[in-house]
């Protein structure tokens, strides 16, 4: 499996799958937001380890399930996590089944000479038609490499249009490789009779109980597949959750449940639900979806004191800049500029990679500075930035913060 581009087949379903050159990543529907953020990375050909780093960056506890497959150079690597998530790997000699239901962290296998690989992530759409894909982001219930025998008509799955940056490269291949797929592997539910022969890794106890639906080891709170359904009686729920702030960008909560704590308590503080507002409120431009926290550099800022700063994340510039309300994975870059006369505010401007219509370029926002910011774009009159209003930056633009400090915007 050392081809640089692999053609998979998939069955439409609930999960979001990102097919990249070297890795394939599957995330449940609740992680749509994360999928959008990781799409660029995976699509850019990121390797297995780099992708895993980013998948885990927010922490394992908030990621109820995922599948990561590395099909680049060398052996095939597969990680599965979550209830009902199964992968079957077949080599010339054996078939290995991985089941993510029964572990607190994940199941991982590295295997040479894999001839067929099947991942199934839940019942929905289990017997739907298969479509071919060699790159992009689609909704799936199951994926096969090489493509499952008898693929259906090559159409994009209906759900594909929902996820934000969708580039589905779906290939029409009317008759495809039927004999290449051993019959035993094509069923995702095959019980993998050869499991016990397999001995590259330590034998895992869960191989023996692969059909046990869900065994929670002590100390592990299994993530419910459908959050709110688990509320037992006696939970406190906020009765009238507030309407989402009108300007808050849509943000899928990590899971649709919320903190639930019994009413019966001594302390006054208690947990409650906030409807759809669970989850961090992304900073930045109201009404626009948040940009991915770290992207490719979209611009380089050359500051008049000689410093040069890449805009690959939020950059806050000022006399003593402060970063407010960010998440663990999106730490903004703080750039201190000298201001002998204190004309520059402590956090004067923010420059970040643009999102939506500004994707691919940097945008500047005055953070309510005391003395304002003047922007000179090439070929345009100088303009005073309105506090809180983001303006797209053209290469060659000059931002004047006052006190003799200017920032030139260059291509990265």
């Amino acid at each position: 499996m050392s081809r640089s581009v692999s053609t998979w087949s998939y069955r439409p379903g609930e999960w979001v799958a990102i097919f990249g050159a070297a890795t394939t990543l599957l995330l449940p529907d609740s992680e749509k937001q994360r999928a959008a953020q990781l799409w660029e990375l995976v699509d850019g050909g990121a390797g297995f380890d780099a992708t895993l780093d980013q998948v885990l960056a927010p922490g394992l506890s908030v990621l109820p399930a995922f599948v990561l497959i590395g099909t680049g150079e060398g052996p095939t690597k597969v990680i599965v996590r979550g209830a009902g998530v199964r992968a079957t790997l077949t080599t010339n000699d054996e078939s290995v089944e991985l089941d993510g239901s029964t572990v607190t962290t994940w199941v991982e296998r590295t295997l040479e000479g894999v001839t067929a690989l099947t991942v199934s992530v839940g019942g929905a759409g289990a017997d739907g038609p298969d479509y071919l894909i060699d790159g992009g982001l689609v909704r799936v219930a199951r994926i096969d490499l090489p493509p499952h025998a008898a693929p259906g008509a090559a159409e994009a799955a209906p759900g594909a249009a929902e996820a934000a940056p969708v580039v589905a490269v779906v290939e029409a291949v009317p008759e495809a490789v039927p004999e290449a797929v051993p019959e035993a592997v094509t069923g995702a539910d095959a019980e993998g009779p050869a499991t016990e022969v397999f001995s590259i890794d330590e034998p895992s106890p869960l191989d023996d109980e692969a059909d046990t639906s869900s065994v929670s080891p002590p100390g592990f709170d299994p993530m419910p597949e459908d959050g709110p359904a688990q509320d037992a009686s006696g939970m406190v729920w906020a009765s009238d959750a507030p309407p989402a702030p009108p300007m808050a960008p849509p943000l899928a909560p990590p899971f649709p449940g919320a903190v639930a704590v019994p009413d019966d308590h001594d302390g006054m503080t208690r947990a409650g639900a906030a409807g759809d507002d669970v989850g961090p409120t992304p900073p930045g431009i109201p009404g626009q979806p948040p940009a991915p926290s770290v992207t490719r550099p979209v611009a380089t800022l050359v500051i008049s004191n000689g410093e040069s700063v890449e805009v690959d994340r939020v950059v806050l510039i000022g006399r003593a800049p402060e970063a407010r309300r960010f998440t663990a994975t999106e730490q903004p870059r703080l750039v201190t500029v000298p201001s002998a006369l204190h004309e520059i505010s402590s956090t004067h401007i923010e420059v970040r990679p643009g999102s939506g219509a500004d994707h691919g370029s940097a945008v500047v926002t005055d953070m309510g500075s005391t003395n304002g910011t003047v922007l000179v774009q090439p070929g345009l009159e100088p303009e005073e930035l309105q506090p809180g209003i983001a303006v797209q930056l053209i290469p060659g633009a000059i931002i004047n913060l006052g006190d003799g400090v200017t920032i030139q915007v260059m291509n990265p």
């Binding site: 704590v261 503080t269 208690r270 507002d277 663990a328 994975t329 201190t336």
Partner: protein, 273 residues
Amino acid sequence: MTGVELHHGAATDVGLVREVNEDAFLVAPPVFVVADGMGGHDRGDIASAIVVEEFRRLADAGYDPARGPAVVAATLLGAQARIAAYDAAQRAQGARDFHAGTTAVVALLIEQSGEPKWLLANLGDSRVYKYNHGRLEQVSVDHSLVQDLVDAGTIIASDALVHPERHVITRALGGSGSTDADYFVLPLSAAERLVLCSDGVSGMIDDQHIEGILAAAEDPRDAADQMVAAAVAAGGKDNATAVVVDVVGLAAETPYDSERQRVSLEEKLGALP
């Protein structure tokens, strides 16, 4: 952390109404934590103690100051896992629907571009304030129902103090909801004094009152004591905890030198020669 000396004070009180103090705090420079446990019968004091323990371990073991948010996120995750394990153990013993939970506010020194900075993290409705040039400003944004209502424009900030649902929080450690903290980075010069407190303080006395106490009390230990005492005097309806941290050399006037900070409180009060 080289070159930064911190003076600090901390105080906690069970209050006048509660039987158990479910608050916990940590002063282990350069790491400071306040945690407010939830759910009395569910032993919120255990949950808050777990958070403090995890951060004490972090302070003892040391951490990479260049990777602040990742370090804090990992520590919070560790605490979350331990609380979940504790829940599971209690449920296994027959405690139905057992959910311990806790808020957490954390302040610790990190390094960015070679400069020391404050990294603050917040989960729940405990608060971090900065005090600079005589002005108090809340830095953290509560993860609470009333804060959401304020953000949505449904109520105004002053209503939040008396809203019947003011104790309902939307994020916490423990439970099954979001455990993603908000993070903040402040340059040291932005805060000559940092205050971490539970809602037993900020819910009982208003920001003006806190500002007055901080302005009058030069010693951070006095400031913390007086904040908690004021919260109790105002009714003490909840556990009240405050941690006050001064960055030496950045305070408007250095109230005593670093030698004298080490003088014990007993000596300061005249109990020792």
